[in-house]
Symmetry: C4
Subunit: 230 residues, 4 copies
């Protein structure tokens, strides 16, 4: 019943090592089927090379296992919060990819510094506030989702226009219209994070021109997009 | 009729992932046939692994499609401007290669700091001014070419002696006597950009000796060149 | 008699080039069989590609060769000290992996800056003091172990909670419940060392929240761990 | 007559791309046969993938071609100077490997900061002075050798104890007992150059303890060496 969904989630998870976004098992991708009300996600702590389609776990929106024998990713509750709060997203990915994680450890937004960034993210990729000790102690993974959503609401950011976030002290999450698209955005986030690190070393105050940011974002998104084969 | 041209352009585009200059589809190479008045160029938004010779698009110097079913690269108008302004070049390449893009994001010239640079570029690789909001709004890709050409004229730089440019806030363009040669120069630009980043961290004021720059450039270029098998 | 032990040690040594932790022969892994009172370890100065299971050397806890024709790693005496002082460890690895060695050369602890670190190391990875000239002159490799153990005792660090150390001016050692686990920790140390370098450049005073460090360490370790398939 | 020599030189040249020390044709390795008074060296500007044993050029100590149809490396005269001045070396290699070239561009010695360096280099790897305009204009490649030799004499450095040099504004040269050993040293130089860059960023004043440097150098070199299988 969930075979096609599980296959897409497996394929998307296997893109993580291919694009150099993960060490060992440090990443997980999920996709939601909103009609069926289920999420397929990577099992916790399983190596990518050993993973088959039957290892993918299906859970409902309360996190209860619907199909599969393994435990779902320990980050499942964060994925669920994002799917609930952001109704237009279909896939979520979490990694500890090196450069994006560096921005997380520094507790800083990934600043929009060029058109590579602007092609995918409309403005800075926001960094969350720290979780409180209580938020860490109880329902930590759910609260990681809560502070992400809070940051987007507080800054009035459209999660489709900025499909990634930096969780302070932790690492990035990205999302997209499905699992594959979420991984695509995670790859982009890693690249622009690496570029931003060195750019700030060369020229600490620089920002992208707002008109250039608008132009590049709109070349690829919305009714007047003209990039690619439309 | 354009088969050989298209094959060379395909081959040159496939060098981009081989040399690590591109993520996803973020790069495009073209070559001009000046006798026939046409340019062959990568289609927009197509993955390198999926690309065949029939996907390469042939356009005339007004950007009208002459052969092929796909849309040409969204950067085609920049390529056309360069071919029109620089009559001795035969190939153009645009990438978002990491280190050169870092210099673009910092809005700085890539400084000539050693003989690796001097072997290919006679002096700093210039960074353009920002485009104005109007230049961005209307004919953006064409105007990207216009500011490149303006920078070379303003500084009186010979585009054959410095076959690359840094577009502020954006990324590099390189060119050469044909598509393959343009890609070769893009690889060099990326390498010298990476070296220059760290060199300036170690020794912020350093420049190459002008005599050493002259010597290395002339070892490889002009009537008295003695590098290679001549 | 030692065939299975030697095979595990060979396999773990071959993980070093696979994970990019070594140049040439600059690394060695050992595993102890505490019942038999022997340690299997890489031979000194032998290339990984040439190494077979019969090249692995078995020594007793005084460093005397019990099986094998080759000289054991020149670092064998350091391994022995660690096994004697840390009774719960089963494998030890030494490399000159780039980022961890940079912290060693800088004579600095690898600071705990994020959850990637906290998942494996409970607090900073300590850097030893310098050896004295006398400690260097006589029994250098043994004394390298002595200063490691001294640092853990002085700071009251549990070697199972922080399974790596930075030896000042030299390079890292890591350990684990067996040879494979030790190499796993060495890979993690290298990754968090690289992240910490750039994090400190972006934000020089940052530290991980202590509650977040506790949470992530306890997600993976101890009675209440819930990461993975338990 | 020179077949074995040429084969060794070919093999050593092919190690350069394998170890990531070269872009395109930016490197060359030679080996001397002191009895026969000849040097075998890479041809100028030939791609590594296209190179066969018959492309290797044999020259005498005046640089005259003795065997082969291609032009020898444009850096041949530098190699010859080094062989003449350093009677105990048998192989020379020149690359523009990224990190060592960064030190060259910064006109700085590669400082001895850890045992990775001390295992191979007894003290800092020296950076030459700039060549004068006249030295650049006439016999440039020979004079590159002259300033290298001058630096070793001026600082009283034994070229066997420090088998590499940084040529200011240019790039490194390394040497060894034969072509293969020279390439080995070039790989080490690149690695310690990369480590030193980041070490100095973390801790700008740090140096290796002199006793530790002595110890590690003598573990691997001289009558009392005990590293490896002796």
């Amino acid at each position: 019943m969930y075979q096609a969904l599980k296959q897409r989630v497996l394929d998307a998870n296997l893109q993580l090592p291919k694009y150099g976004l993960v060490t060992f098992t440090w990443g997980n991708v999920s996709e939601i089927d909103r009609k069926l009300g289920v999420i397929a996600i990577k099992p916790s702590g399983v190596e990518y090379v050993d993973m088959g389609v039957d290892d993918i776990v299906v859970v409902d929106l309360e996190g209860r296992r619907v199909e599969g024998n393994l435990n779902p990713s320990s980050d499942t509750d964060t994925h669920i919060e994002l799917y609930k709060a952001f109704p237009n997203i279909g896939g979520v990915v979490h990694t500890h990819s090196r450069s994006a994680t560096i921005w997380a450890q520094a507790s800083l937004d990934v600043p929009a510094l060029g058109t590579t960034h602007a092609d995918y993210f409309y403005g800075d990729v926001p960094c969350t506030r720290n979780l409180t000790p209580v938020e860490i102690e109880v329902d930590y993974e759910k609260n990681t989702g809560v502070v992400i959503i809070e940051e987007f609401h507080k800054r009035d950011i459209d999660p489709q226009a900025v499909p990634s976030v930096i969780v302070a002290g932790h690492a990035p999450f990205s999302w997209g219209k499905n699992a594959k698209d979420a991984v695509h955005n995670a790859v982009v986030l890693e690249e622009v994070s690496a570029m931003a690190l060195a750019t700030r070393t060369l020229n600490s105050g620089i920002k992208i021109q707002s008109e250039l940011s608008d132009k590049h974002y709109n070349r690829k998104h919305g009714a007047n997009a003209y990039y690619g084969q439309r």
